[in-house]
């Protein structure tokens, strides 16, 4: 005989304003099998929870219905309270009379009536609840970090320092990411390489980190605690176990005029190359597309001069299978290009010459011009003729915040790095003048606004609020035509160099990876966090976390903070030997299952398989569906396609649902 208690919450005014809670409690008391009912202002508060616990003991309740908010909000709270009384938490149900009643209705009489109906449904359901057991799944104590920029490195180091194993994957030949390309960093102007390269070395030498560079994620299957990942280690054509990184191959390679990715096209590199001197690992890679031997079948200069015989032209891509319990995605960003042929159909800037003038460069290129390791060894020289530019115009929000270009968001870091650029430029070219066209100066952050003021007040950058309509060449000069909206005048500046703070965009190849991982992304292809405020590093795929600019434009401090947060989440996950999850999974009645396999086809999570039932002699009796409880998400798709009604969903059985519906017709 069921003994059900009903607890009606006013939620302050939220429910009480539109639903007469005392009437709901009174009416509930009349329902069959309800032995106790009460209403209270804040049922989720401590006294509220005590009321529930006391009532369970005093009235010997076998089931509890809390009529309050959505189960998403407080089901956990109340189930925890119920559990403390030794009643199974699965015998507690929520009737949602807030989101589904008081918040959406105005008529108090009707709303009260509906609230009673909602309670009646749940009373019928909870009577048929069974004390389920949470599912326990084992955890592989190893994490995969995808991406070897500052976010990936920080996450890997933090996890490794927490004494868990990490596999780190980077698609390019070296880790370091964009931060390795930067000159000095705001707001303290410390050298980017100096603070990054020690971390790169640590990541490579840490006993808990296994680093794979020039490697991509091929496939991901499995679930939280138990991911099976296949990596594709791309052929480097250099045996990294033999190579000493001496660099003679680079010197001897006859192809020397290939535009260097690391130097953003402002420098050259050979076909066999180490991307930059501080690269980790310090192992070269052959650019197959441009290597003379691969193109013509002749050359092999690198092989001839390599005294360790490390060049392996017959190397092929290698596939590596690993098992991990958690994944951190830290794939970073790419800068928008103003050229004509852009990805995703995003338009270029015809009014700025579509990037065809060598002296109109983007900010990352300017970083390379400022960098001591850059193509000009840190001297500011413009690309066209090597002249030291005396007037430099900086344009902010190129692409960003521009609906016409399809990027309505703020790229967040440009205000700060442009201020930094004007400073560094002034420190190197004392007689030079920097102009900045901006829309708004967004310098929120510790010591950030002070930094911008310093650029303006001490280093004399002239800030003009407005957009630039056109840049064109007139002889030696670039004419920049813009508006100064504060003085309401048109401005024309004859510049030697123009630097565009172009938008931060998602990695162009992020979508296939996101799909492999089952991680959502927004319309700009930035990866989606599980909750914008309360779950900023989690994704909707349990066990997969985000760090850095793959989620949204971020500066270094923010990327590092998020990376450490992701690492903390991974360490938390790895701290348990087993994970607990809600037991709302499908189960098969093997006696009636005909083994038709419809459910296998229908399951979106690939959680269903065939299982052979054999007799003692090992003879096959029949095939039935088998549900992997670790993979099942309890969506119920299999139930709806099962023709023999041989599948049911724990916690939401057909019997429960039908009794809920029937209760409405009394």
């Amino acid at each position: 005989m069921a003994r059900i208690g009903v607890f009606v919450c006013h939620c302050g005014e939220n429910i009480g304003r539109t639903v007469d809670c005392s009437v709901v409690a009174k009416e509930s008391a009349k329902l069959r099998d309800v032995v106790y009912s009460v209403d209270y202002k804040y049922m989720c508060s401590d006294p509220g929870q005590i009321m529930v616990k006391d009532a369970i003991k005093k009235h010997n309740l076998t089931g509890v219905v809390i009529a309050s908010c959505s189960p998403l909000m407080h089901e956990k709270t109340f189930r925890r309270a119920v559990q403390e009384t030794e009643l199974s938490p699965f015998l507690c149900e929520m009737a949602n009379i807030r989101e589904q009643c008081s918040w959406v209705h105005e008529d108090k009489v009707l709303a009260t009536k509906k609230a009673v109906d909602l309670v009646r449904l749940m009373v019928e359901k909870v009577k048929r609840n069974t004390p389920l057991e949470p599912i326990r799944i084992p955890v592989t104590k190893r994490a995969l970090v995808i991406g070897g920029g500052i976010a990936g490195i920080q996450a890997a180091l933090d996890i490794a320092d927490g004494n868990q194993e990490v596999v780190m994957v980077e698609k390019s030949p070296s880790i370091g990411g964009h931060m390795a390309q930067l000159s000095e960093t705001f707001p303290t102007l410390d050298c980017s390489q100096c603070i990054l390269t020690p971390k790169m070395v640590s990541a490579n030498s840490h006993k808990n980190i296994k680093l794979y560079t020039y490697t991509e994620v091929e496939s991901v299957t499995g679930y939280i605690g138990n991911f099976d990942v296949t990596l594709r280690k791309k052929a480097r054509y250099v045996d990294d176990s033999i190579c000493s990184g001496c660099g003679i191959c680079q010197e001897k390679c006859p192809q020397k005029k290939i535009s260097s990715e690391f130097n953003t096209g402002l420098g050259k590199r050979p076909a066999i190359y180490i991307p930059f001197p501080q690269a980790v690992p310090n192992i070269p890679v052959i650019d197959k597309e441009r290597c003379t031997y691969f193109k013509n079948g002749k050359c092999k200069a690198c092989e001839k001069f390599c005294d360790r015989n490390a060049i392996k032209f017959d190397q092929t891509d290698e596939f590596i299978n690993i098992k991990v319990g958690a994944i951190v995605v830290a794939t970073g960003y790419e800068m928008y290009n103003i050229g004509k042929n852009n990805k995703n159909g995003i338009k270029g800037y015809g009014e700025y010459g579509c990037g065809e003038d060598p002296d109109i460069i983007d900010s990352l290129q300017f970083e390379r011009l400022l960098s001591a390791s850059g193509p000009t060894f840190g001297e500011v020289k413009r690309p066209s003729d090597g002249k030291v530019p005396e007037t430099v115009v900086f344009l902010q929000c190129v692409g960003s915040r521009d609906k016409a270009k399809g990027m309505e968001y703020c790229s967040k870091i440009c205000c700060m790095y442009t201020a930094k650029h004007t400073m560094l430029y002034k420190h190197k070219v004392h007689h030079g003048q920097a102009f900045v066209f901006y829309l708004d100066i967004r310098a929120g952050g510790k010591n950030y606004d002070e930094f911008v003021r310093r650029a303006i007040e001490e280093d004399g950058a002239i800030y003009l609020r407005g957009r630039v309509s056109k840049i064109y060449r007139e002889g030696d000069k670039l004419i920049v035509k813009g508006a100064d909206t504060l003085s309401g005048s048109q401005v024309e500046i004859a510049a030697d160099l123009v630097v565009l703070a172009t938008a931060i965009t998602a990695q162009p190849d992020i979508v296939p990876l996101a799909q492999k991982l089952g991680v959502g992304y927004d319309k700009y292809h930035f990866l989606s966090e599980a909750h914008p405020k309360l779950k900023p590093v989690e994704t909707n795929s349990a066990g997969i976390f985000l760090a850095g600019a793959c989620q949204a434009p971020k500066d270094i401090p923010e990327s590092v903070a998020q990376a450490s947060a992701a690492a903390a989440k991974v360490l938390g996950l790895c701290s348990a030997t087993e994970l607990e999850r809600e037991p709302y999974v499908a189960k098969v009645y093997e006696s009636t299952c005909a083994g038709c396999g419809f459910c296998i086809e229908a399951c979106p999570y690939k959680a269903i398989d065939n299982k052979a039932i054999v007799n003692r002699q090992g003879k096959l009796i029949k095939n039935v569906a088998y549900i992997n409880q670790g993979l099942c998400q309890g969506c119920g798709t299999c139930l709806s396609v099962c023709r023999s009604k041989s599948i049911d969903l724990a916690g939401f059985t057909d019997e429960q649902i039908f009794s809920e519906i029937n209760s409405l017709f009394v």
Partner: protein, 290 residues
């Protein structure tokens, strides 16, 4: 296929050479243009600056005429006519209220579907570059052309849908097909001052000077246009510009259809090359084109 031809007022008057060259070129290419019977004013700038509904109803009435006369495509060489026709069509198609009002004002149905093409679009999209390349018999080798697009042809780009409004190339592509060389330059889409020529002539002199200077600096022998007002401001004002700035201004300004006509071997006087204020003959002779 025949096209409803909408010449507009300019092509019957000040821009007669644009009309003549357009018709001669289309004749040669077997593109049949049939003037829309009883066409009326497109409204130009005055209509839409005085009354929004008038500015839509006038051009739309022309589309209704074209539809009634069985044309599914209207060709307009004048950039302003093209702009007004496209804009009216856009407004009517995107607002039920506007459609209703325009239907009431014109007393005719608004659920019509007439394509509106600019004359250069006819060459690019209907005739096609590959066929055009075949028919040019007199290549304009050695002639450097600055193609000037102005504003009305391209903007608002969402409505005009002709080319990139910041860095258009359609006229350059046509020019290059003739064997002439289109020069890269910065003032392709700068404002010529347009109708300010009447109330604020000085502004037009300043703006047009900058355009001509930019073309000359880019090494252009001639400027090509596809708009009667652009032509008027650039061709007609050069003497005044010269006077104001104390320099000689004599850069010929040709309609793109005149250039195409020359490449097709059409008699230059029939193309109206005699009617420009800056005489193009010396330059064309110097380049051995005539």
């Amino acid at each position: 296929m025949n096209y409803g031809y909408f010449p507009g007022c300019s092509l019957h008057a000040t821009a007669k050479e644009f009309n003549d060259s357009t018709k001669l070129v289309c004749d040669k290419l077997d593109l049949e243009l049939k003037e829309i019977d009883k066409w009326i004013c497109c409204g130009a700038t005055p209509a839409h600056t005085t009354n929004q509904e008038l500015g839509i109803a006038l051009p739309f009435a022309n589309l209704q005429l074209a539809a009634d006369q069985g044309f599914d495509t209207v060709v307009a060489p004048c950039a302003a006519c093209f702009n007004r026709l496209r804009s009216a069509d856009f407004e009517v198609k995107h607002s039920g209220y506007t459609a209703e009002r325009v239907g009431y004002i014109t007393g005719s149905r608004t659920d019509i579907n007439v394509r509106i093409l600019h004359i250069i679009q006819l060459f690019r999209d209907e005739y096609g570059y590959s066929r055009l390349k075949e028919v040019f018999s007199k290549p304009l080798k050695g002639l450097k052309v600055a193609n000037y697009y102005g504003c009305l042809l391209l903007r608002p780009s969402l409505v005009m849908k002709l080319d990139d409004p910041e860095n258009p190339v359609i006229m350059d592509e046509l020019t290059n097909l003739t064997g002439a060389e289109s020069v890269p330059w910065a003032f392709k889409t700068e404002c010529c001052g347009a109708s300010l020529a009447i109330p604020e002539t000085e502004i037009v002199l300043d703006l047009s000077k900058k355009i001509i200077d930019s073309a000359k600096n880019a090494g252009a022998d001639v400027i090509a246009v596809a708009c009667p007002l652009c032509h008027a401001n650039l061709d007609m004002r050069q003497k005044q510009i010269g006077k104001k700035f104390g320099a000689d201004y004599s850069t010929p300004v040709l309609y793109i259809t005149q250039l195409l006509g020359l490449a097709l071997g059409i008699d230059p006087s029939k193309l109206g090359l005699d009617s420009h204020l800056v005489d193009p003959y010396p330059v064309l002779r110097a380049k051995n084109i005539l």
